[in-house]
Symmetry: C2
Subunit: 148 residues, 2 copies
DNA sequence: GAATATTTGCAAATGATTTGCAAAAGAGAT
DNA sequence: ATCTCTTTTGCAAATCATTTGCAAATATTC
C-alpha cells in the first residue's frame, strides 16, 4: 500500500497523468481534515479549476489505487479520506442529529487483528466500521435544550 | 430491543396498524435468509400486494423501531435484515466481484465489547462492520478461470 | 510536429429513494 | 351499522448523488 503523500508519483507510475486539475485536487485533498464528499471537495476548489465530474473520476481512481478510502453514509452518500501511512484505517461515527461523519480513534493493533479475523476465507480489500447515533456534541446540545 | 418475531405486536403497541400489506411484508421478511434490498423484497411479493413505496416506508418504520437493521452497500444501495433475538448484530461481506452482500459469523461477545468501546462518549444506536473484497466463492471461480 | 492515448467539461441519463396528495381502509365512539 | 378522525396506500412526479456519452483539449511518444 502506497502513501497518498506520494500520490503524484504513484499515479504517474500507474500511467495516470498528472495534469493541472489533478494537482489542484491533490492539494485540496491534503488540506482536508476529516472525511469529505465529492461535492464538498469540489465546492472548496478554486473556481473553475475542475469539473465536479472530474472530481468524481479522480476520487474513483484514488480509491482504486488504494490511495483513498471510501466510507458510505447511511443516506448512501460517499465520503472520502486519504489513505496515507499517516492516516491508517480507523472507525467512523455518523451523527444522525447533525449529519456529520467524523473519525474515531484508531483501532489498537490487537483489536484490528480481531476484527480482520472475521473476514477469513475471503480476499478482504477494505473494512469499514461505522457507528451511528448521536455524537457527544449533539448530546451536550440536547442537555442545553432540556434546561430551557 | 424487541424481536422482529413479534413485530406485529410491537408495531401495534406503537400505534402502527397491522394491515394486509404489512402482514404480507412481515411474512416475506421472515422467509428471507440474508440481507435484501427494498426492491428485491418487493419483487418477491405476491403480485399487486404492496407498492414499492409502501415497502420503503415499512422498512423505514422497522428500522426506526429497531426491528430491522440497515446496511448500506458501497454503491449506496440499502440492504435490510431482521433484528430479532435470533439474529444479533454481526459483520457483513460485500463481494465486489459478484455483488452479493452476505452475513459473516457473529462477533464473539468479547470482540463485540472491544469494538463498541470505540464509540464511547457518543450515543451509539448502531454499528455497521462491512468487509469488502472478493468472496471465497469468487476466489474459487478465479482459480477455475485461471486453469483454462 | 504528427500520431496516439488520456483527460476534461458539459449535457443528459441513471436509478434508488422520497414526497405530495387524494382516495381507501382501520379504530373507536354513537 | 354509521360517523368521525387518523393512518395507510398507490401513483405520479420530484430529488439528488453518481455515471455516461462524446467531442474538444491536452499529454506523451516517436
Amino acid at each position: 500500500m502506497e502513501s497518498l503523500c506520494d500520490a503524484a508519483k504513484v499515479l504517474k507510475s500507474n500511467g495516470v497523468r498528472v495534469t493541472p486539475a489533478r494537482v489542484v485536487l491533490l492539494e485540496a485533498l491534503h488540506s482536508r481534515r476529516g472525511p469529505f464528499t465529492a461535492q464538498e471537495l469540489h465546492a472548496n476548489l478554486p473556481a473553475r479549476s475542475a469539473d465536479l465530474v472530474t472530481v468524481y473520476r479522480f476520487l474513483a481512481r484514488l480509491v482504486k489505487a488504494s490511495l483513498a478510502r471510501e466510507i458510505v453514509g447511511s443516506d448512501g452518500v460517499a465520503y472520502y479520506e486519504m489513505a496515507c501511512a499517516h492516516n491508517p484505517v480507523h472507525p467512523h461515527f455518523e451523527c444522525l442529529s447533525c449529519g456529520r461523519l467524523f473519525c474515531l480513534p484508531l483501532f489498537r493493533e490487537e483489536d484490528s487483528a480481531r476484527v480482520l479475523d472475521y473476514g477469513t476465507g475471503h480476499r478482504v480489500e477494505s473494512v469499514s466500521v461505522v457507528f451511528r447515533g448521536t455524537c457527544a456534541a449533539c448530546l451536550a446540545n440536547e442537555l442545553e435544550e432540556g434546561k430551557k
